[in-house]
């Protein structure tokens, strides 16, 4: 907090000094860990890039209190568009960065197949998110603030996904016959048993028959600069973001802005100034949005350049050449998106632990064919998630906001149930608010807006449910005279 916005009665925290020391210690550990990893093998720089970008994301997420759960939830719960505005600014800016990366030829992005599953996944994810109090990356940065409830959310997201993708025979009764037929026709290797289990048949019998595309590709201008900047960035991300900002202004900001500024008959100029006031009303969030946009683009560029340098398609090949063959998928790959992604690596943490406990889960498509189950110490995107926690902890310590916070029973149950729903929603929708929304729309793939629509619907229903819970609880305990 700067001098000028300290209100009367503000307590200047005496622990600020020790917070800075803790922050320095965490950063020192990241640096030390990086040196140790590089001294083992310099090729670990590929993994460390994830750690460093994760740390930068964590710093920015905490600084801007950047939480996509609140973007959707606070609109309906308390009528506050602040976070939704920040998110849309980040989308618009990141899409420009992503376009630069695409035109440099380093893009690691692949469009998501479009189908009903995206809206349903978004709906389940959005509903769960209201109860956990944070989205997938929001829970990571809040864990970095010392919030134990958010750590439970991460645990729930990990294990629910791991269990969901490895569902066995019992789930076959929910599989449409057409999926089983299509799954059989894929001719996948026997050891994957693709006609066994709901999720495997969902992937091989349904998802694989769908197509994903980018705006540039569908307009036939895929390889041109116009296709990348105009179609994939402007049409897919910037224009929809601007339109949504106008909608947010009209429904959630305009009236109070005009009232505050005593404007009776607003002209175009007044409304434009109102829009600008809305965009700048939370400077930290907008700045974090700009920073996230820049770093997310830079991460794609850096990873793309490293792939070129090592002449690899992904981290699996590098792991193999370093002699780490355990946990690779049948194709010799591991999950390695090269950009900001959250849920899949968390599924791998849970899946790896279950695997070590004797659960056979390398016979499913998600782990066995596509993403592998690397040891968490060799899970590059996993280190991005850990980096987010550490970066947020650094920023929280510097701002004297770090505090161990134990959840109440209610919060713990919400964290576990909501986190489980988020995990299931993320697997059905092929990602979370980052992987399925943020990373897609900014790379010219409109499927992310469909995920957002589902997430908004789920968020709306979640707020309804949450309000009903608060009312019921108050009427029962009488501690909040409503």
């Amino acid at each position: 907090m700067t001098e000028e916005n300290v209100l009367p009665g503000t307590v200047v925290d005496s622990r600020a000094g020790s917070g800075r020391i803790s922050a320095a210690i965490i950063l020192g550990l990241v640096a030390l860990g990086s040196i140790v990893a590089l001294s083992i093998d310099t090729r670990f720089v590929y993994l460390l890039v994830y750690v460093w970008f994760g740390t930068a994301y964590g710093l920015l997420l905490q600084y801007g209190r950047f939480c996509m759960a609140s973007a959707v939830r606070d609109l309906f719960a308390v009528g506050v568009p602040r976070m939704a505005v920040g998110m849309l600014i980040a989308v618009a800016l990141y899409s420009l960065m992503a376009a630069g990366v695409q035109s440099a030829g380093f893009s690691t992005f692949a469009p998501h197949p479009l189908g009903w599953h995206i809206v349903i996944g978004g709906l389940i994810f959005g509903f769960g998110m209201v109860f956990t109090g944070g989205c997938a990356s929001g829970s990571l940065y809040k864990a970095g603030e010392g919030n134990v409830g958010s750590m439970l959310v991460i645990v729930a997201i990990s294990f629910s996904q791991a269990a969901f993708v490895a569902m066995g025979d019992w789930s076959d009764r929910f599989v449409p016959a057409a999926w089983t037929e299509a799954a059989e026709a894929t001719g996948m290797p026997e050891e994957l048993s693709v006609t066994n289990g709901w999720f495997d048949q969902f992937i091989s019998g349904y998802i694989w028959n769908l197509n994903g595309t980018t705006v540039a590709a569908s307009l036939g201008m895929e390889d041109s600069a116009a296709g990348i900047y105009f179609a994939n960035s402007f049409l897919s991300a910037v224009l929809p973001s601007l339109l949504l900002l106008v909608v947010l202004y009209l429904f959630f900001y305009r009236r109070s802005y005009l009232r505050r500024n005593k404007i009776d008959r607003a002209g175009l100029g007044d409304n434009a100034r109102g829009m600008w006031a809305m965009i700048t009303s939370s400077k930290n969030t907008a700045l974090a949005g700009i920073g996230l946009g820049i770093f997310a683009g830079l991460q794609m560029w850096t990873t793309g350049a490293l792939r070129e340098h090592y002449n690899i398609f992904g981290f699996g090949e590098l792991l193999e050449s370093m002699g780490y063959e355990s946990g690779l998928s049948l194709q010799g790959t591991v999950f390695d998106p090269g950009y900001w992604y959250i849920t899949t690596q968390e599924a791998q943490w849970g899946g790896w632990l279950l695997n070590k406990l004797g659960v056979e889960n390398m016979d499913n498509i998600f782990f066995g064919l596509e993403n592998g189950l690397p040891n968490p110490l060799l899970n590059a995107p996993g280190f991005m998630s850990i980096g987010i926690i550490l970066g947020a902890a650094v920023m929280a310590h510097m701002r004297s906001e770090f505090k161990w916070k134990m959840p109440s029973l209610e919060t713990a149950v919400f964290a576990l149930v909501g986190g489980t729903l988020m995990g299931i929603g993320a697997r059905i929708g092929m990602g979370c608010n980052i992987g399925a929304f943020f990373a897609t729309v900014t790379n010219g793939d409109l499927s992310g807006w469909v995920f957002l629509a589902g997430m908004i619907g789920g968020g709306y229903l979640g707020v309804k449910g949450f309000n009903a819970w608060l009312e019921w609880r108050a009427s029962r305990e009488g501690d909040f005279a409503l």
Partner: protein, 83 residues
């Protein structure tokens, strides 16, 4: 851990949502303010920094005024006067 909302004097209320994370603090604050009359003052105690951002924005849009603010590593105590 219970949420405590009580009248502490003439036109003065207090709400203690310490220990709660998003979205509890901002939702309880909204409900508390809805129960109060114009000019009443709410003393709000919370320890979830992100909720503070939402509560600030909520005050701005509804015209309620944040008349006193104390933030420390053990949480925040804000006084909000209802418009």
């Amino acid at each position: 851990m219970a949420v405590k909302f009580e009248q502490t004097g003439d036109g003065a209320y207090s709400l203690d949502v310490r220990g709660y994370s998003c979205p509890h603090p901002q939702m309880y604050t909204k409900k508390a303010l809805e129960k109060m009359a114009a000019g009443d003052v709410l003393t709000l105690q919370f320890d979830n920094p992100s909720s503070g951002e939402s509560i600030l924005a909520m005050c701005e849009s509804s015209g309620n005024e944040l008349i006193d603010r104390a933030d420390g590593s053990d949480g925040s105590t804000w006084k909000i006067q209802k418009a």
